[in-house]
Symmetry: C3
Subunit: 339 residues, 3 copies
C-alpha cells in the first residue's frame, strides 16, 4: 500500500512522498523505510522528525520537520489502529470443525464457525456466525455465544453462560464458575447454591487466566465494551458497566456494582457490596473496603483508597513523619523545661 | 413440591398456604409465586413481608406480616441450602469413560466414575467411586483421588498427589506443581528438588485457576473442609488446617502453618514460615510479614497487618496527619517566638 | 549409592561410616538411616548432630558431633541438589508423539521430542531435541522452542513466540497472549495492535497459571536464568534481565525494564514504564508507582515502595502515631493555657 493510498483510506492530509511503499508497522524508534508509525506527543514528534519511518501519522496541528513523510489526522493512534487492520489483516482460520472436537448432537453452530482441535461443546450450546473456538476450549451445556467471537485455547465456559458478539476471551479464562459462598453451621461450611448465570456483553475482552464467577441466585454481568486484563477475578453477582478498563490482577468481590467508564489500574481490590459510580478512576494496588460508595468521577488511590489529593498529602506527611517526631520530642523537652 | 412438603422436609413450622407449589428458588427481591426464598436479617424480613415469594424461610423468632407464606426454621440460610438440594438436584452425568479419554492401562477407576472428553489419566492413578473428571482434566502418575469428587474442566493434578472425598476443584486449578525454590551459587539459580507431595483432604473446594504447590521435601496439606476461592496461591510445604475460608487472590508463601477455622479476605499475602493460629481473621488486602506468629483468635488488618483496633486507630490518625502537621508548625513557631 | 561414593561424586570430605547405603533424601527433621540430608545453618547443625540421617552434608568449616556420618562440602545445599540428581533421577518419558496429538504437517520436531496426549502443534512450529510437551499443551503457529524444555500440562504458547533451551513452564502458563492496550476514541476502546513477540530465554522457569503477554509493537523478554513463581503477570513490552527471582502473584505492567539479579517477593506490583536496575530487592506486597527509577542495588519496601530503612522508620513512627497525637493535644492545651 502506498502512503497516498493510506492517506486516502484514513482521510488524512499527506505531506511528503506519497509513492512510498508501506508494508508493515513498527514503533517509532524501530520504524524503517517501509514502516508506518505514529507520533501523538510533543516528544514523539521530535523523534519522528529524525526517524527512518516510511510514514508517520501525526496530529492535524503538527508539522513534522526534516523532510519526513507524514499523514496528518485527527487522532493519530486511532488512525494507526485502522491502518494496521488494512496492512496486517488477522489471518482467518478456515471454518469447520476439527475431527478431534467433541460436539454434542444438538449443539447449534452457525455458519463459518471455526472449532479447533479437542474443543468440547456440550448439549444445547449455541455458537454464532464466524465465532472461533481455539484448541481445547470447553463450552458448557446450554451456553450461548454470539458471532465474531474468539475464544483462545483452553477457555472454559461453565453451563448456562451467555456471551455476546465480538467477545475476545484469552487463553485459560474461566467464565461462569461457582461463586465463593458458604453457610457456616454445625461446625462446617455448607456450599451455598450457585445457580445463577454469567453474562458477558458485546465487545468485551478478557485477559489470560482471568476468572468470572456465575451469580449465586442472581447474575454476574460484564457490560458492553469493557476490557479486563490478565489474572483478574470477578466474583458472583458483580455488575460491571460499559466501557470500563480493569488492569491485571484486580479482584472484585461479590455483589459489587460498577458503573460505566470506570478505570482501575492493576492489583486493585474491591470488597463485597461496594458501589462504584460512573467515571471513577482507581490507582494501582488500591483497596476499597466494605461499606463504601465511590462517587461519580472520583479519582481515588491507596489502601484504603481515598481521594487522590488526600492520598498525596498523606504520603507527603508520612515522609516527614520521622522528622516530625524528633521535632515534637524537642518541643516537649522545651515545654517541660519551661513548665 | 408443596410448601407443606417443604416444611416437613426442613422440620420447620409452616405459616400460611401449605398447598402452594414451589418449583424453584430465587433471591428475595426476585422471588415469584412459585419460588422459595429466605430472610435472615431484620431488613430482609421487612422486604419479605412485601415480597411476591411463594414461601419464605424465616428464623424461628420471626413473624412475617402481610399474609405471606413462611416456614420458620432454626437456620433459614442452611434450610435454604437443603431445600435447594431437594428442589434443584444437580444433574449427574452418566458414568463411563468418554472414548476420547486417554486412561493408562493400570489406572484403577472405581464404580460409577465419570471421565469426560480428552481427560488424561496417567499410570497408577486411582479414582474413587462416583468421582467426576470433566473435559480435559489431567491426572498425574500415581495420584489418588477419593470418591464423590468433581474436577471441573482442565484441572491438572501433578504426579503423586492425594485428594480426599467430596473435593471440588474448579476449572484450571493446578495441584502439586513444583514449589519455588532455588540455590543461588556460581552466579545462577539451581533448582532445589521438589520431591514432596500435595494432599487435599475431604470436603475441600478450590476456585478456578488457583494453584497449590507440592512440598519440596515435605508435604503441602489443605485440611478437611477448607474452602479456597479463585486465583489463590498455596506454596510448597504449607499446612492449612480444617474449615478455613480463604478468599480470592490470596497468596500463602512457603512453609506457612495455618490453624483451623481461619478466615482470610481477598488479596491477603502471608510471607514464608509465618504461623497463624486457630480462629484468626485477616482483613482484605492485608500482608503478614516474615517472623510473625498471629495468635489464636486475633483479628488483624493492614499491611503490615496489626490488630484491628490498632489498625483503625492508625487509620484515623493518618487521616488527621495533615492537620496535625500544620498545628505542630504553629506550635513550633510560637515556641520559637516565646524562646 | 554408598556414602563413600556420594563423597567422591560431590568432591567432599567424608567423616564417619562410608559404607552406609543411601537410597533417598529427606528434610533434616525427617531423615532416616538411608536418607541423605543437609545442614547449612548453626541451628541445623545442632539438629543434625542428633538426627537419624544416614548422612548429612555440612559446610567445610563445620564439625558434626555425636558420631553422625557427614560429608563436608563448600556449599551443602548445592551439593544436595547435585546428590538428588544422582539419587533420584527424573524419569524421562519415552520419546514419541502420542496418537491423540494434533501436529501440523510442517512442524519440525527434533530428535527425542516427547509429545503427550491431546497436544496441539500448529503450522511452522519448531521443537528442539528432547523437549517434552505434556498433555494438552497448545503451541501456536511459527513458535520456536529450544531443546531440553518441559512444558507441563495445558501450557499455551501463542503464535510466533520464541522459547530457549532448558525452559520449564508449569501447568496453565500462557506465553505470548495479547497485551492490554486500547485507544479511547468515539466513546469506546479500540484494541491497539498486539503484533509483537514474547521471548523466553534459556533456563527460565515459570510457575503455574502465570501469564506473559507478547509485545504490542516491540518484544517482551524474560532473560536467561530468571525464575518466576505461580500466578504472576508480565505485561507487553516488559524486559526482564538475567537471573531474577520473582515470587508469586507479582504483576509487572507494560514497558517496565528490569535489570539482572533483581529479587521480588510475592504480590509486588510494578507500574508501567518503571525502570528497575540490577540487584534491586523489593519486599513482599510492595508497589512501585509510575515515574520511578529504582537504582542499582536498592532494597525497597512498602506501597509506595521506599528504601527499607525509611520504610522501617516510617512503620515505627506510624506505630507511635496515636500516642503522638495525644501528646500533641496536651502540648497544644498547655501552650493555649500559657499563651
Amino acid at each position: 500500500m502506498t502512503v497516498k493510498e493510506l492517506a486516502s483510506l484514513l482521510g488524512g492530509t499527506l505531506q511528503g512522498d506519497g509513492a512510498r511503499d508501506i508494508r508493515g508497522v513498527a514503533a517509532l524508534e524501530k520504524a524503517g523505510p517501509n514502516h508506518l508509525t505514529f507520533a501523538d506527543s510533543e516528544r514523539a514528534l521530535e523523534h519522528a522528525a529524525a526517524s527512518q519511518a516510511g510514514c508517520v501519522l501525526v496530529p492535524e496541528t503538527a508539522t513534522l520537520g526534516g523532510g519526513a513523510t507524514s499523514i496528518a489526522v485527527k487522532h493519530p493512534k486511532l488512525a494507526f489502529v485502522r491502518a494496521v487492520e488494512a496492512l496486517c489483516p488477522a489471518r482467518k482460520p478456515e471454518p469447520g470443525i476439527h475431527p478431534s472436537a467433541v460436539v454434542a448432537a444438538d449443539a447449534a453452530l452457525a455458519a463459518e464457525v471455526s472449532v479447533g482441535p479437542n474443543v468440547v461443546i456440550a448439549r444445547g450450546a449455541k455458537i454464532g456466525t464466524r465465532t472461533r473456538l481455539d484448541a481445547g476450549v470447553v463450552i458448557g451445556e446450554g451456553t450461548e455465544i454470539g458471532s465474531d467471537c474468539r475464544l483462545y485455547p483452553r477457555v472454559v465456559v461453565y453451563p448456562g453462560s451467555r456471551i455476546g458478539n465480538r467477545v475476545l476471551l484469552h487463553a485459560g479464562v474461566v467464565i461462569g464458575s461457582d461463586g465463593f459462598g458458604y453457610v457456616m453451621a454445625e461446625g462446617r461450611h455448607h456450599k451455598f447454591p450457585q445457580l445463577g448465570q454469567a453474562i458477558i456483553e458485546d465487545d468485551v475482552e478478557i485477559g489470560s487466566n482471568s476468572t468470572v464467577d456465575r451469580g449465586s441466585l442472581g447474575t454476574t454481568i460484564i457490560g458492553q465494551g469493557t476490557k479486563i486484563d490478565n489474572l483478574c477475578q470477578v466474583a458472583h453477582n458483580v455488575t460491571i458497566g460499559r466501557h470500563c478498563v480493569i488492569a491485571a490482577q484486580t479482584g472484585i468481590a461479590g455483589s459489587v456494582e460498577i458503573g460505566n467508564d470506570v478505570v482501575m489500574a492493576g492489583q486493585v481490590g474491591i470488597a463485597d457490596h461496594i458501589r462504584i459510580e460512573d467515571n471513577v478512576q482507581i490507582g494501582g494496588h488500591s483497596a476499597i473496603f466494605p461499606g463504601k460508595i465511590v462517587r461519580r468521577g472520583s479519582v481515588v488511590w491507596g489502601s484504603p483508597a481515598r481521594p487522590i489529593v488526600d492520598y498525596k498529602k498523606q504520603q507527603a506527611c508520612l515522609a516527614q513523619l520521622p522528622k516530625l517526631m524528633d521535632r515534637l520530642k524537642e518541643l516537649a523537652r522545651r515545654a517541660g523545661n519551661g513548665g
